[in-house]
């Protein structure tokens, strides 16, 4: 199968790729910068617990002593670190303020019909304020019940305020921001290399190689296979370099099974190469292929692997994203996931590669027939 002609094409492509040395240099440098930036942001968020300060409006019209206690709670420096608090008048239109984006969350606390009620309206289901307001309500009710029973909170023999949760660190540790983006951003950035496959295909077209090879002993299979293998190995090589440098310079954790990691790199490189080849075949234009590669390889697929935010849910769309499966396999081998997860991810990557290869073959056959 691997003929001398294929080897010639393979060597020619490899030589061509490495001749433009600024390509690997720039992709490696850019990827390391992106990993560092995003990793640092995530680590900062994990320390402070917030992405950006939540803007909270408060209308407090409760009766004594709840009104004072509620105000006192929000005056604390700890809450000011994570919330941007504004006191509002009771006549404000809450829905409008939220719609206009002036606030993320508004607390309306009133004394009505002999009872205090706290209502929180928010555009953030994960708002800190929900937890704070719930805690206030529960603690206020507990204190009231204790006082009604015993007259004073201090009369409790031992006021219970212990630590309830004890976090179990994963067997091989939890990833920090740099570890996380070291994997997902690398997979996102490497998609740009699909442009190499675009050039390979379009060069063949513009130089009219296909009609000419029909009269030569080199089959078009040899040309395509030679070019594909060369591009896959080239992208895999760059992935290995990025992973190694990210580990050495940024301390990104890559302590998994190296054979599994390499398999993922090869399969992923193959998929990226196929993406470039398919887009080149379909669009016949570098500019348009670039749009397809950026749209699918740098935005759509990475989105489902959590490249833009770790807050993702696996959906049907995740299953067609090679970044999602590659990320799962890599995290599984690095952080002690089961063999089932590794195997499942590799199978999905393989299926995606096969489907893309079939699409490419169908287009290729129809185009060659057209040109002849």
């Amino acid at each position: 199968m691997f003929t001398i002609f294929m080897f010639t094409i393979f060597m020619f492509t490899i030589k061509n790729n490495f001749k433009a040395f600024w390509i690997p240099l720039s992709i490696i440098a850019t990827t390391l910068i992106v990993i560092f930036l995003l990793g640092s942001i995530l680590e900062n968020m994990q320390k402070t617990g917030v992405n950006s300060k939540e803007r909270v409006g408060i209308i407090n019209e409760m009766n004594h002593p709840y009104k004072d206690e509620f105000d006192k709670m929000f005056e604390g420096n700890e809450l000011k670190k994570i919330l941007e608090i504004t006191c509002l008048n009771e006549n404000e239109d809450v829905q409008l303020l939220l719609e206009e984006g002036k606030f993320h969350t508004i607390i309306e606390a009133y004394y009505l019909d002999g009872k205090n009620s706290i209502n929180v309206s928010t555009v953030y289901p994960e708002s800190y304020v929900l937890a704070i307001a719930t805690n206030f309500t529960q603690t206020a009710n507990t204190v009231t019940m204790v006082m009604q029973n015993q007259g004073d909170m201090n009369t409790l023999e031992k006021q219970y305020n212990n630590k309830i949760l004890k976090t179990k660190i994963l067997e091989k540790g939890n990833p920090i921001g740099l570890d996380y983006y070291g994997v997902v951003s690398m997979l996102q950035m490497i998609a740009i290399l699909g442009i190499i496959a675009v050039y390979a295909i379009l060069d063949d077209k513009t130089k009219n190689i296909f009609p000419r090879i029909k009269t030569a002993p080199i089959s078009n299979f040899n040309i395509i296979a030679g070019r594909t293998i060369a591009n896959v190995l080239y992208i895999t090589f760059i992935l290995v370099v990025i992973a190694t440098l990210a580990s050495l310079i940024l301390g990104v954790n890559w302590n998994g099974n190296y054979l599994v990691i390499l398999t993922v790199f090869i399969l992923f490189s193959f998929i990226i190469t196929l993406l470039g080849m398919i887009s080149a075949q379909l669009t016949k234009s570098v500019t348009a292929s670039l749009g397809v590669i950026m749209g699918i390889g740098s935005v759509l697929w990475p989105k489902y692997s959590g490249a833009f935010s770790p807050f993702i849910k696996s959906t049907i769309m995740s299953y067609v994203s090679p970044n999602f499966h590659a990320k799962n396999v890599l995290f599984a081998t690095i952080y002690g996931g089961s063999t089932k997860t590794i195997f499942e991810g590799l199978v999905f990557l393989f299926i995606i590669a096969i489907v893309m290869m079939s699409i490419f073959t169908i287009i290729e056959r129809s185009k060659i027939n057209d040109s002849i």
């Binding site: 995530l42 992405n51 800190y128």
Partner: protein
């Protein structure tokens, strides 16, 4: 105006380019912003081996703000890795008795990476169980305790919450972050006309004709500006009218600012093309520059989350200035930075175009 007319004709006769510029941005806005990504409720797996009234009540409390997922305890790590579960809590047998009798016992929790998202939930669990123990300590019997526990959310103070699904200004900011990314892509696509001229040596042929270098660049630039105005205006109008995104009566200001930004991006692309030797290098540079330009410029994250060094570097990027204006105007109704941003974006455009002129002159003299 031959170059100008040719560029417009070529652009509108390419369905793929039109799809990339006009359809792809909305596809992504629909997928990423309208579909909701950042504010999904936490998925929690609770393994309750104690199964008491208190642990059931705790699960009920967790369920108010999160989604409880049923799964096998042995698969926890895989589910955390696959993003199917974000947080797990294990309640050991005998936990309730030990807790209520004042023993130092804990609930075991695990997560993979999303710690910051879990802080409010962790806080709620801590507070709920601490209050429960305090109530237990004043209760006469177990029945009395559970009766009191039922009133924990509704006694002297009651609590209710409303999650509001609206097209808030924050959503518009998120959508515009994506739009900015596609406006950069459209800039690359448009500037490719100049690249094609350069590759096919048309630049040289045109420049040896009576057409001056200044008028050649001007016609290219003018065609890009007209196309960018059409692109930006259609994208933003569709976002406002078609998708009902809120612009807080500042639609025109945002539109003009983004048009100004797109012009600076066009100038940047022209500069890259005029400096670099061939099309491969130009495309490559623009591709590699796009992601950091978007990330450091604050299209996805507020720049204030980054270190001071990165924040200072970002001031040299047009993306930072446009995103600052978008955030200030839409989220805070603050137009203070607008004038400065206009000056800076114009300055970027002038600098980029001046460098392009030098680059093209050099190309001409070499040939």
């Amino acid at each position: 105006m031959t170059v100008f007319k040719k560029n417009l004709k070529v652009f509108f006769s390419s369905p793929i380019k039109l799809a990339i510029v006009f359809l792809l941005p909305f596809m992504f806005v629909l997928l990423f912003v309208s579909g909701g990504t950042g504010n999904l409720p936490t998925t929690v797996a609770v393994f309750d081996h104690d199964n008491t009234k208190l642990t059931k009540a705790l699960i009920g409390e967790i369920e108010k703000s999160s989604v409880i997922v049923q799964c096998d305890e042995n698969e926890v790590l895989d589910l955390l890795i696959n993003s199917k579960v974000e947080y797990t809590i294990t309640i050991e047998e005998g936990y309730t008795n030990a807790l209520l009798s004042g023993k130092d016992v804990h609930l075991e929790d695990t997560y993979f990476i999303n710690k910051e998202k879990l802080f409010p939930l962790m806080m709620s669990i801590e507070a709920y169980l601490n209050n429960a123990v305090n109530l237990y300590n004043i209760s006469n019997s177990e029945e009395d305790f559970y009766l009191k526990l039922e009133y924990i959310n509704d006694f002297e103070v009651s609590y209710s919450q409303k999650n509001i699904e609206i097209n808030s200004s924050q959503k518009t900011v998120d959508a515009l972050g994506f739009m900015i990314q596609f406006i950069i892509y459209s800039g690359i696509i448009l500037a490719a006309f100049l690249l094609i001229d350069k590759e096919t040596n048309s630049t040289i042929r045109i420049l040896v004709s009576p057409k001056s270098l200044a008028s050649y660049i001007f016609e290219h630039f003018l065609s890009y500006i007209v196309l960018e105005i059409i692109i930006v205006a259609s994208l933003l109008t569709t976002l406002k009218v078609g998708f009902d995104y809120s612009f807080n009566n500042n639609f025109l200001l945002i539109l003009l600012m983004i048009i100004l930004f797109s012009i600076s991006i066009i100038a940047f692309c022209i500069m890259v093309i005029s400096i670099l030797k061939n099309s491969k290098a130009s495309y490559w540079f623009m591709l590699c520059a796009t992601t950091p330009l978007i990330m450091i410029g604050g299209c996805y994250f507020d720049v204030s989350n980054m270190s001071n060094v990165v924040q200072n570097i970002s001031k040299f990027l047009p993306t930072r200035w446009i995103m600052d204006v978008i955030r200030d105007v839409l989220l805070y109704d603050n137009t203070e930075k607008v004038t400065l941003a206009i000056v800076v974006l114009i300055a970027f455009t002038v600098v980029y175009l001046s460098i392009s002129r030098i680059g093209l002159r050099k190309l001409l003299s070499n040939k």
